[in-house]
Symmetry: none
């Protein structure tokens, strides 16, 4: 199988500019791509280097910031069909902050080498626009997180997280530890445990070992407003 | 004076794409521009509407987020030669969060109507790239503010230090270098300098050569809680 036959079927659906690329540029992008499966928990991108453009085929990646003391704040997650552009800082020179990317599950990804993508995006305005728009779109996600953390109260934050997570997985039961939830919403484990206990006391959720089950979706939703 | 003769001298310096625009497009941008002086304290942009692209000629604009309760967080400031793109949400459809823009001083600005700029940026990739790059560049500023406030409580640590030091010496002026302060609060000189600049912008302190003078003790105290 050539690189072109391997990657083109995916690229032509994911990249709006694909049909306008020359044959040579399509070959170039495919030849500078590779398929990789990141095992659950693996750190994929670490700070401000140019790991490349990552396309998620299956699984889930988590982007986060980290303090000097190792405290993490999740910015957003990427799922099937999503593209990670912040891991290619050589493509977007104006991005000067460090983000980290971990695989949250075993994740099948395609990676396009950063320098190759950057070289092409210098030449082809369509690609540059796509890369920038992808980044700007995430800006809004990050601003949302910032607003949650800086402005909102904890009960609201936790309620939003539980509803989002339940919507994402399609089930009422959230299988995450309190520590994991705390990291996602930028809080401490103790705070999450205490708030979950409060929610449980109110009959909004049921907390058992390793599971949180949503009992009263209506009241949870009321908390988010 | 025609619109073209009024605005072109500024636009040709500020817009890297100007020389590549057609005559008709230059006319179009100029004819959809107006000059305005915002008085100090005036709110210029309020949330997610499309106020247009604002070019600062003189003065200072402040961009901030606001919570439901009216709490504000300054994201960054714009000065002479800077361009405000987040006030033109119709240009960047992927920006879905609300920012507010106030004039901090009497500010002379040129404004290009949002719909006109958006229409042109749809047609001219150079303009679209410029608009997106301007927005992505500010992404990094915002992430810095976020990191300092969320992780380091750097604002808090610095505020506590300045108040303690002032209490200890009995005067409003702290005569220490930024490097010395950084060592006292366990940070880096660059971080202290940047945070002091942030405080100065907020009118909390005045920073001069070798001195930091506390101007607004009440707000400094609020930061410590």
């Amino acid at each position: 199988m050539t690189a072109r036959t391997e990657f083109e079927p995916v690229y032509k659906d994911i990249f709006p500019f694909w049909s306008r690329l020359s044959e040579a540029d399509r070959d170039y992008l495919c030849e500078n791509s590779y398929a990789v499966t990141y095992p659950r928990g693996r750190n994929i991108h670490d700070g401000n280097d140019c790991s490349g453009v990552i396309l998620v085929q299956n699984g889930s990646l988590r982007l986060y910031m980290m303090s000097d003391e190792g405290r993490e704040i999740t910015l957003y997650r990427l799922h099937r069909g999503d593209i990670c552009m912040l891991s290619a800082s050589c493509v977007l020179e104006s991005i000067t902050f460090d983000v980290f990317v971990d695989a949250e599950e075993d994740s099948d990804c395609y990676v396009i080498g950063g320098p190759a993508f950057a070289a092409l995006s210098e030449r082809v305005p369509d690609i540059r626009i796509f890369a920038l728009e992808t980044a700007v779109g995430r800006f809004s996600d990050v601003m949302w997180v910032m607003q949650q953390i800086l402005f909102m109260s904890m009960d609201k934050r936790l309620a939003i997280f539980l509803l989002d997570e339940s919507a994402r997985t399609g089930v009422d039961t959230i299988t995450l530890t309190h520590g994991q939830i705390a990291r996602y919403i930028g809080s401490a484990r103790e705070v999450v445990s205490r708030m979950l206990k409060y929610f449980a006391g109110e009959g909004i959720v049921e907390v058992s070992r390793g599971d949180i089950r949503i009992l009263d979706r209506k009241r949870l939703r009321e908390l988010t407003s």
